[in-house]
Every structure is written in C-alpha cells, then in structure tokens.
C-alpha cells in the first residue's frame, strides 16, 4: 500500500531524514517510533506531500506522490502533530469544509454524522472549535482525517495530550477502522498496544523494523531468579553450569536476586544445581526486554555500526 524507497530530506548540510526505505501492506498498523527530533514528522510530511523529498520516492496505493500528487493525496487522511483546525468555525462547518475540500463523494450528511459518531463528537457539532479542549481538538483532527474515507491514515503523535481513558478510546477507534495506518509516537508502550509492526528511527535513519516479538529477541536466553539463601552458596552452585555466560547477583533481606545470560535454555540445570545445593527457588522467569530496552539497544547498535 505504501512504498518508500531511499527517502532523504536535507536542510542544507543537515539530513533530517537519511535514506529511509520501508513498505507497508494494506491494513497494517505501523508504529513509527523515535525520540523527539528523530525525523518522524518530516517523514510524515513527505508521505503526505506537504513537503518535498530531497531524493527518493514514495508510492501510495500505486500513485507516486511527486508524479501524481492528486491521486496520492486522495488516498491519505492526515492528522498532523497540531490538528489543522480553523478555530473560528464550528465543528460541523469545519467538517463540511473538509468534505468539500477533499471532493468527497460519500453521501454528505450520513458520512459526516458517521465520523462524528465514531470519534465521539456527536454532540459537539454546533460548538466553535476555539472552545474545544486539547482532547476534543485531537478528536476533531482525527475526524478531519477520516473525511472522504481514505484507505491510508497518517497520524502524527495522535495521543499526545490525551488522558489515559482517551488514549485507550483512541486506540480502539484506530484499530477498529481496518485502514492502513502509520502513526508516530515516542511512547513505546503505545506502539506495542496496537501495532503489528514498528519502525524505529533515530537521527533521520531507520535503525530497526519488525514486530515486537522479533525485536525483543525471542531466541535470547535471559532469566531472572529470586532465591532464598546466601549469595556465595548460589554462586558456587551456578558456576558449575557451562552455558551461563553472565551472572549478576544482588542480596537483600535474605533473598538473592539473580539474572543470568546464557546461550541455551539452562532452566532444568539451574533447578537441579540449586536443589542439590539446598537453595529454594522463589521465582524464575524468562526476561523479556522492555520496549525501552529494545529502543536503546537499537539506537546504540546503530551508533556502533556507524562508528559514532
């Protein structure tokens, strides 16, 4: 549905977006992750044709953004970082305007009512956008993006400034639409909640891509344990196991917290060793990295590769 190849945007010597390529299948929901200033908004602005790329190409549903901008733009609903609202208009006037602007062909009244229903704005139609709170402005922005029923949604930090209940509601709306969606965020848990895949971008470069499972490294063997006993006894017991590469221990209130890094599943061996050393296991679990760790790992990995 979306094909991006070797996309670059340079402002003078600074490369805000540097040689990014990815493709997105119809119906996929993609999280676009990165710290502030990583190039997320710039990339989205290029996808929607708001700014031009320095080099590279973008194809939306088979239409090149540069060569046939009208067709490409018709496929996209865009919610920029700041919802583009005309504050002196009422919500209804605004949506009517967007409907005309996009040249939408759906039955006007039914279409707009449906969108207001979906974004929970049904009762707000006659109110001036100026008087909308941050959360409601964000909803109005999403409503605007949905006008004309475009197959692709591009949402730039859509949940910023929303309260937790609104965030959950927003996620439900977006994941229920069944549209090809790219949304950017710097909140990692957000991306994992609704995305089938994530793209991580830092300093203009795409540094990692994949599902959460792929990124969290399913075939890594890291375990954390809580044991009752003393640290020296634990160390002697575990040091006999060959496959353990790294062993970290911390003792607090007669409990030993252990994390081990190994190159195979050592759990049975660990159990036996600790049992014969008479150390009771209070807890043992596989350690899955948090998204924060995945993110930092990707960032530092990319920096190592570029030799910075």
């Amino acid at each position: 549905m979306i094909e991006v190849s070797h996309l670059t945007k340079a402002y003078g010597a600074v490369r805000a977006v540097d040689d990014i390529s990815f493709s997105i299948a119809p119906g996929e929901i993609i999280g676009f992750l990165g710290p502030n200033g990583a190039g997320k908004s710039t990339t989205m602005n290029m996808l929607t044709g708001y700014i031009s790329a320095t080099s590279g190409s973008i194809t939306i549903d088979g239409h090149d953004v540069l060569e046939s901008p009208m067709e490409a733009k018709k496929c996209i609903g865009y919610l920029p970082e700041l919802p583009p609202l005309y504050l002196e208009m009422t919500l209804d006037e605004y949506l009517e305007f967007v409907y005309d602007l996009k040249g939408a062909s759906q039955p006007r009244k039914k279409h707009l009512e449906g969108i207001k229903e979906l974004t929970n704005l049904g009762h707000m139609g006659g109110r001036l956008l100026r008087n909308f709170s941050k959360g409601y402005r964000q909803r109005a922005g999403l409503a605007q993006a949905l006008v004309g029923d475009p197959p692709v949604l591009i949402l730039d930090e859509p949940t910023i400034g929303l309260d937790p209940a609104q965030i959950i509601e927003f996620r439900n709306v977006v994941s229920g639409l069944g549209k090809t969606t790219i949304f950017s965020t710097h909140i990692l848990s957000e991306a994992s909640a609704i995305c089938s895949r994530m793209l991580i971008i830092n300093r203009g470069k795409l540094i990692a891509a994949g599902s959460r499972e792929e990124m969290s490294g399913e075939n890594e063997f890291r375990y954390t344990l809580q044991l009752s006993g003393d640290a020296d006894k634990v160390r002697t017991a575990l040091e006999g196991i060959e496959d353990i590469l790294e062993l970290q221990m911390e003792e607090k209130d007669n409990t030993v917290y252990v994390s081990i890094n190994c190159n195979s599943d050592v759990r049975p061996a660990v159990c036996r060793a600790l049992a014969s050393a008479d150390v009771p296991i209070l807890m043992m679990k596989k350690a899955t990295p948090t998204l924060e760790e995945i993110f930092l790992r990707a960032v530092s990995g990319a920096e190592r590769r570029t030799g910075k």
Binding site: Y11, N45, T48, G49, Y50, I51, S52, P69, M70, E71, K73, K74, I76, Y78, P80, L82, P84, L85, Y86, L87, E88, M89, E93, F97, V98, D100, L101, K102, G103, Q144
Partner: protein
Amino acid sequence: MKAIFYREIKAYFSTPVGYIFIGMFLAVSGYFFAASNLLPKLPDLGSVLSNMLMMFLFLIPVLTMRLLSEEKNSRTDQLLLTAPVSVRDIVLGKFFAATAIYLLTLGITLLYLLVIGIHGAPSYGKIFCNYLGFVLIGFAFISVGLFISSLTQNQASAAIATFASLLFLYAVEWVRGSVQSKLILAIIDCLSITKWYNEFELGVLSVPAVIYYISFTAVFLLCTIHAVDRRRWS
C-alpha cells in the same frame, strides 16, 4: 477552489476583518460623497473614487493580511496542502474571496450613483470608466497583499509590509520629475500603479491600462503560487 472560496468568505464575517473593511470603506467613502457631491451639489462621482484610492493603502492590508499568513500560523496549511487541491486553486480561491468582498463593498457605493441619478444628470459613461478602473486597481492591490501574506506567518507583519509596498507603488510616481535616466523612468512606468488610473478617472476606457492591471495582478498571483510552492521544496 470553491470550498476555499466559500470558507474565506465565511471567515471574513466570522472574524472582525470583513466588518472592519466594509465599515471603514463605507464610512470614509460616505464622508467623501457628502463632502464632494452632496454638499456642493456636484454630480461628479469620480472624485469620491480617486479620494478613496488613498484610503486603499490602509484598507487593502486589512483585507489581505490573514489570507495566507494565518494558515501558516495556525498550521491549517497542512490541511490545504495535503488535500487533493493544487496550490493554484488555493491561491485563486483566496484571491477571489478577497475580491468578492471588495466588489460587494463597491457595489454598495452604487447607491451614491442612484442618489445622483435621481437628483442630477451624471455622465454614466465616465462613471462606468471610473468604476472599471477602480475595480482593476483594487484587484492589483489585493494581489500584492496576497503575495505579501504568503511570505510571513504574522498577520501584523503582513499588514505593515503590504501598507509599505502599496505606499511605494502609490508614491513612486512623485519622483518622475527629477529623474533623467531612461531606464529608471521605464521602471517607474511599470510600477506606477496609480498613473494608469488617471485615464479611467478622465473617463477614457484605455485598453493598455486594462491590460496593465490584468497583467500586474497575474504576475503577483503567479509570484504567490510560486512562494507557497517554494517553501515546500526548500
């Protein structure tokens, strides 16, 4: 283009801008009409219009200042430029909205003509020329204002810069007498937007003047389209 045109027209009346422009225009032209037609009992409406030219320096910036600058300021340009609409349509939609408000206001001043028509014998041919010239010079001024509005994010800067530019175009004629260089004279001829109005004022339907104003307006509209486009490519 139609959607943008209608939205702009509405915006003129949902903000004070439309009321300020129409109100001030009619108040001042009403005064001129009273002072130069009603009180001295003269049927020549042309002098009201040429006096109004001076007022344009203040009024046109009010009409054009927010057209494009406000879009940038409130980021609504992201909506317009990512919608399936060309930059040309955006610029023309806004230009026609401003000219529509202008023509509406000018239309109201035809009441003066009605008053004169009832009580005297105005020269309709001459007044037609006066109005035609006035419409054309208004379009030219609006295109300058629109262009300047595309260069800034701030309404006040747009208004002041438009005022300064219009004042320059209005007053460049005054140095003509003291200039010898043929080149500079030619430049003054091109820029001197009020000089071309003189013929209309005398009641002459001057084809070169009509062509001058239309091309002047077209050049500034093209510059505006280019200015909006260029920011996306920088």
